[in-house]
């Protein structure tokens, strides 16, 4: 199995390390031609969503990424990656790829002083560490979107068919629960 990791900006190496620890191969996607390489899943990492989207457009990659997702490619967006996929970004002038039926709120916990760590339950798995860095959360989800984790009643992880998003950063921890969940999604799609 090969996972493509969008490597335009942000914490993409951390995802590659987590996958490697799980015995899964990955490669970096920095320009359009990288999107044509064979892959079984796509990760949109944390970083700055405005930077990543600007680069996706300028490097002529946004349409192709959108096509891949719409054709069923399993995709996992963390933090900025969540914002890239959200249909609506409530408190920002634009949304980005709009492939997932969720309403997201950007910088929802405030500035860096609002960043925090918490322990929560992901899809029934307890004691998972959630790291929120200037994070968004999901204000509401559309039909067919499954909520996978909440913190204080706020939605922080969700799935709609082939799309998985977390407002937090599992790649910054040593707990592989959520990456394993994503790899299962990729394995199912391969069958």
């Amino acid at each position: 199995m090969q996972i493509g990791i969008l490597a335009l900006q942000g914490a993409f190496i951390e995802h590659a390390k987590m996958l490697k620890a799980l015995g899964i191969g990955s490669f970096e996607i920095r320009q359009k031609k990288d999107l044509s390489k064979p892959m079984n899943g796509l990760i949109l990492p944390g970083g700055e969503s405005t930077t990543m989207y600007k680069l996706l457009v300028d490097l002529d990659m946004a349409e192709k990424v959108k096509e891949l997702i719409e054709s069923g490619m399993p995709v996992f967006g963390t933090c900025a990656g969540l914002l890239l996929l959200a249909k609506t970004v409530h408190n920002y002038k634009q949304a980005y790829m709009q492939t997932m039926d969720i309403v997201a709120k950007k910088n929802a916990f405030g500035r860096q002083l609002g960043s925090f760590r918490a322990t929560g339950t992901f899809n029934g798995v307890t004691d998972v560490t959630f790291v929120f860095i200037r994070a968004p959360y999901i204000e509401s989800v559309g039909e067919g979107v499954e909520v996978l984790a909440e913190i204080d009643g706020l939605i922080v992880a969700a799935r709609q068919k082939n799309q998985l998003v977390t407002a937090f950063h599992p790649e910054l921890t040593t707990n592989p629960t959520i990456h394993k969940y994503f790899i299962k999604m990729c394995e199912k799609a391969m069958k």
Binding site: G10, R30, T51, K106, R111, Q112
Partner: protein, 291 residues
Amino acid sequence: MKNERYELNKELAQMLKGGVIMDVTNAEQAKIAQEAGACAVMALERIPADIRAAGGVSRMSDPKLIKEIQAAVTIPVMAKIRIGHFVEAQVLEALEIDYIDESEVLSPADDIYHVNKHEFKVPFVCGAKNLGEALRRISEGASMIRTKGEPGTGDVIQAVKHTRLIMSEIRNVQSLREDELFVKAKELQVPYDLVKYVHENGKLPVVNFAAGGVATPADAALMMQLGAEGVFVGSGIFKSGNPARRAAAIVKAVTNYNDPKILAEVSENLGEAMVGINEEEIQLLMRERGI
């Protein structure tokens, strides 16, 4: 709890990797920087080239300006304090700044002591020109390091020198025997644990950016190829002929720093670069501040 805060602060720097942090002096410039793809902005009253030209004592920016810039963009906002000026740091923390740069670009407030950065909840980035300086700043609580370079010159030579030196010193520490690390810590005047971390991991324990003299997309890519994890561009953007275009080009160059074809494309037709001054033409060496 304190330790957790430090981890979160290091992690914010991880999110900035592969990005360009741009100096801006007003809300309008901040918006241009964000539109061009900056991963953060540094709020300043005057960019380093103008600080250099104006002379005199240069201090933390007016909080009003910082608030205007915070209101104008969604990306992280950083701001500078004078070396050792912990009250300026308290002021910036009260403004909920995302990152404080304890910077040699401003006039130092203390010629011996840096700020004890462990006392603060907000993160700090500090300049360094060698491994010893970098690890001393980290032991004081910095959660991100950048090279000092020579700010406000548009001359990349010092940023190159500092990046090369830090990288080669890291390789040197990696190659030592375990029993040699104690003396290395003594030589570098830094805690043993930090030297041990570098020995085991072959990198600094925090994210390391390049800064101080980067003016073109090729400069930025040069720093990335030498091992920087991202780039600060100070005077290079808003002292140039077409800031928006140059800023976007530098962002693309940092992402595809290893692809000369893309570097050629983005370097085309950018208008005039900042004029710059050669490092031997300058009187004031900002890099010698705070060692």
